[in-house]
């Protein structure tokens, strides 16, 4: 009789076209068959008769097989298997490359409140009490190559020795770059070429050019230098910090000039500074 059930089962499974599901279907039908047999045995049927009656109750194998095939659609089955394989592959790729680029998880820099800039003192030497912030300014904004570039903060600092002698002025400046194309890199190369000019005709060179010359040549060519001092990056917003040295007298205005590509100019007014 068990042999008859096997024949019934084989006929059912033949109808199921999605081969990987046949094993699970077999297990389910066998369990169902055995349960039914046990139920009948509990009612007093002998094993042989219980099996015969159960097999009869299982129905026409072709009908059952076709119904199961309708549920276990081959295309859906293969799609499910493909999605499993694809997910596994993607997870392996992600694991491999996430270890390489994990530092990016720290990169969610958002624009801060402008009043918090350098609230605790000169950014590059916070312990140095000889620096006094004498003016704060901000510039307009330009849109270049899809980047919105602005100066959310700039400050003029006065330095003097402990006797208040030999004062000079330097500037800290923040350039904010908004980039809606988060998948693209920030314009770092262009930002490294920034120069500055002031109302007295002084030119301040980009540091990458400035240090190619001797001290004497620098003094002849330029009034000072625009030093990039750090970058804070996020997917949509980055900030470039600059330190610009130096003036004997505070400027009335300064213009930040980027000569790279399309370039841009951003003007900062310093009137009223000390």
């Amino acid at each position: 009789m068990k042999g008859s059930f096997e024949a019934w089962m084989a006929e059912v499974l033949r109808c199921v076209r999605f081969l990987p599901d046949r094993k699970a279907i077999r297990q389910e039908l066998e369990a169902h068959y055995e349960d039914h047999v046990r139920d009948l045995e509990r009612l007093g049927y002998d094993r042989q008769l219980a099996r015969k009656r159960t097999l009869g109750a299982m129905g026409d194998p072709l009908e059952v097989g076709r119904a199961l095939d309708r549920i276990h659609k081959p295309w859906l089955g293969w799609l499910w298997l493909a999605s499993k394989g694809m997910l596994l592959l993607c997870i392996m790729l992600a694991l491999f490359y996430t270890t390489e680029g994990a530092w990016r998880f720290q990169e969610f820099y958002m624009p801060p409140d402008p009043s918090s800039y350098e609230a605790d003192g000169f950014a590059f030497d916070t312990d140095h009490t000889s620096y006094t912030r004498v003016a704060v300014s901000r510039g307009g904004s330009v849109e270049v190559c899809g980047y919105e570039i602005s100066v959310p903060y700039a400050a003029l600092w006065r330095w003097a020795n402990e006797h208040g002698e030999h004062p000079y002025y330097s500037m800290t400046l923040v350039l904010g770059v908004r980039n809606s194309r988060f998948w693209e890199k920030d314009p770092d190369p262009a930002m490294g070429q920034l120069t500055l000019r002031d109302d007295s005709g002084g030119l301040f060179a980009a540091s990458e050019e400035y240090y190619d010359y001797t001290v004497e040549e620098r003094d002849q060519r330029w009034a000072g230098c625009v030093h990039p001092h750090g970058v804070r990056s996020g997917p949509f917003y980055s900030e470039y910090w600059y330190w610009i040295t130096s003036w004997e007298q505070p400027p009335q205005w300064t213009e930040l000039v980027c000569p790279s590509g399309e370039g841009f100019t951003l003007r900062l007014e310093w009137e009223g500074a000390e």
Partner: protein, 212 residues
């Protein structure tokens, strides 16, 4: 908390959603790779605030161990973009926009290629060299106990590229040259690049105090 039991369609949707999410994560880790070289150049150009579309001149493997390199013309400037191939596309590794007065670049490698274990120095000259008829690289090398001069003639690979690789002369390399090419001592090398026009006239000569 027990997760809801999903039917097959639900599992497919779940798997594909997770796959897309992990692909996005991977793409982020890889700086969102580009699918084409043109896109890579466009992206590199934007970091220099270039608005003009860069025209691809040459794609080279400048160093067998290093990244591939694209050379392109953006306006009157030469743009060099090193890149790596990743499973999701091309990823920029470095970029250089040369000043307007630079119309060619020479990438020279001491271990450019090797034949039967003998190192052959060489490199590539890439740029706006369509009008250059011949290119020659003279290498003055020096080891602690030997010195000499090698002359390598450039072979045109494309209108924008000459390839330099040292060929064995008919009579074979001299003893000193064999010492240079087979030994482990790193030589000091000074190079002189000469570019000639169709009429044989010298178009440019540039000295490289440290060739590599």
């Amino acid at each position: 908390m027990r997760l809801p039991k999903l039917n097959r369609t639900g599992k497919i949707i779940r798997n594909l959603t997770l796959a897309v999410f992990t692909l996005l994560l991977t793409a982020w880790m890889l700086d969102f790779p580009c699918w084409t070289k043109e896109a890579l150049l466009r992206r590199a150009g934007r970091t220099y605030l270039l608005t003009e579309e860069a025209e691809l001149l040459y794609d080279s493997r400048s160093d067998p161990a290093g990244p591939d390199t694209l050379y392109a013309r953006s306006g009157e400037q030469l743009l060099e973009v090193g890149y790596e191939r990743t499973p999701l596309g091309l990823r920029a590794a470095s970029s250089t926009l040369y000043p307007p007065d630079t119309w060619y670049v020479l990438n020279f490698r001491w271990r450019y290629w090797s034949v039967k274990g003998i190192r052959r120095p060489g490199g590539q000259l890439v740029g706006f060299v369509e009008h250059v008829d011949a290119a020659e690289l003279e290498i003055d090398w020096q080891l602690h106990d030997a010195q000499g001069t090698l002359v390598v003639t450039g072979e045109r690979q494309s209108p924008y590229c000459f390839d330099f690789h040292l060929q064995e002369p008919a009579g074979g390399f001299s003893e000193a040259e064999q010492q240079l090419l087979k030994g482990y001592e790193v030589p000091s090398m000074m190079g002189t690049l000469r570019l000639y026009g169709a009429d044989g006239g010298l178009l440019a000569e540039q000295k490289y105090p440290n060739l590599w």
